[in-house]
Symmetry: C2
Subunit: 278 residues, 2 copies
Amino acid sequence: MTTVTSSEFDRGIALRAAGAGEYRGELGEGWQIGGGVNGGLLLAVAANALRQELPEHPDPVSISGYYLATSHPGPVTARTELVRRGRGLSTGTVSLSQPDERGEEVERLRVLASFADLGELDGPVRTSAEPPALPPREACVGMELAPRELIAQAALLERFELRLDPATVGWAVGAPAMRGRIQGWFRLADGRQPDPLSLLLVADALPPVTYDLGLPGWAPTVELTVHLRAKPAPGWLRVSHATRNLAGGYFEEDCEIWDEAGRLVAQSRQLARVPRQG
Amino acid sequence: MTTVTSSEFDRGIALRAAGAGEYRGELGEGWQIGGGVNGGLLLAVAANALRQELPEHPDPVSISGYYLATSHPGPVTARTELVRRGRGLSTGTVSLSQPDERGEEVERLRVLASFADLGELDGPVRTSAEPPALPPREACVGMELAPRELIAQAALLERFELRLDPATVGWAVGAPAMRGRIQGWFRLADGRQPDPLSLLLVADALPPVTYDLGLPGWAPTVELTVHLRAKPAPGWLRVSHATRNLAGGYFEEDCEIWDEAGRLVAQSRQLARVPRQG
């Protein structure tokens, strides 16, 4: 079973076995943003459940979550299904559900994922992508500048140490750059080092890029797929996310996570709803 | 049930009802590439099955396929599961299976998708992405230049009218540009106009970008997620796909599809295995 350490993240995704392929956990109040539990944290809970079923393939390589209903602090059940056990890659599904006010289980998230052992991947690294050019951390800004309504609903932010590129936080003082990009340095507030599961949280940790398009508010995630490409080195992460196709009430949000060794350790894309205005 | 017209694509994805949520079809020999049936065609078959269950939400908005085993010409069974029916969006899963040599059903593809009515989406179009700058079609090249081993195994290519940007086909004559991008004009060879389901095929229709990195051969898809953002206008499509993170035996392949009205109608990313060399 998951070792519960003093890390907030590990406590946040901790599960206990509750039957064949089934696990129970508790979504903590500290992971809320905009009225629900953060989508990346939910994806990490689901991945943690599938990891228990796949000791030989403990790390997601590709994981896709479809968000069905908002999740709230409280008990959560994860039901896993093994779809295929392979030599280098195994695939499974996870369903996260919580009781509603009448005590009936409502499915919140359905996940499909392929797992491997990221430490066993080999082959040349021919990454042509370049990491984001961020100012040094001392020249970046924390979320204390964020608009009051964002912070008030965002217990989540207390879990993070975020230092955002000032060029991408104009929105916090009423002057969005209108480029649809937000980026900065990231680590967990309690110092826990990054690992494959925490990268799933990080892929959904920054404020929605719609803030930088002058569209504040909560942007509910419809779908989020994360590709994990390597175990991250210890230390700070560079995180950059952007949108190029806001249309028809939806927008895509592409995120890249780089570790301190300069590796592009995760790429993700989510489809989200444009925040309701006015 | 699906109207079978004289279009190759519609025949390729045609299904008949075979029980509650279950459909049967036939994967045609004309859709093979590199030893198996094309992944985009399989995704379209799966989407067609789910569409039968969701008359109010006929179009995928987000669809994720996890490829478990190669598919071959012959009978295919699609089993659907409704996960959530919503007002604007519904979510379901599809499992595609085929019998093996002993007649036992082997699952080939598991899909998770959210469907809507693309014609009902509204909201401003604020796309900042730019379409690929392609030379006029008369100045582009068809796949007749492709290496013999690619054409021999690629009945698929006869279904397409592809006119590739010459700057991205150096690999066909032994001189890859080493940029990891291939792009061009696309339409179906029999003139069928594009629609949401055919866009799923198009997202996986171009040769793997690894050819442009000097790595020829079949690049098996592990996972493919397509976001459909609008119904495409009739006419030619501009398709461009590229990789920026080839590492550890895998690469991501990002594809954009633009219609003749200049809309970015689909964005996709797949995770694939680097072709085995030597």
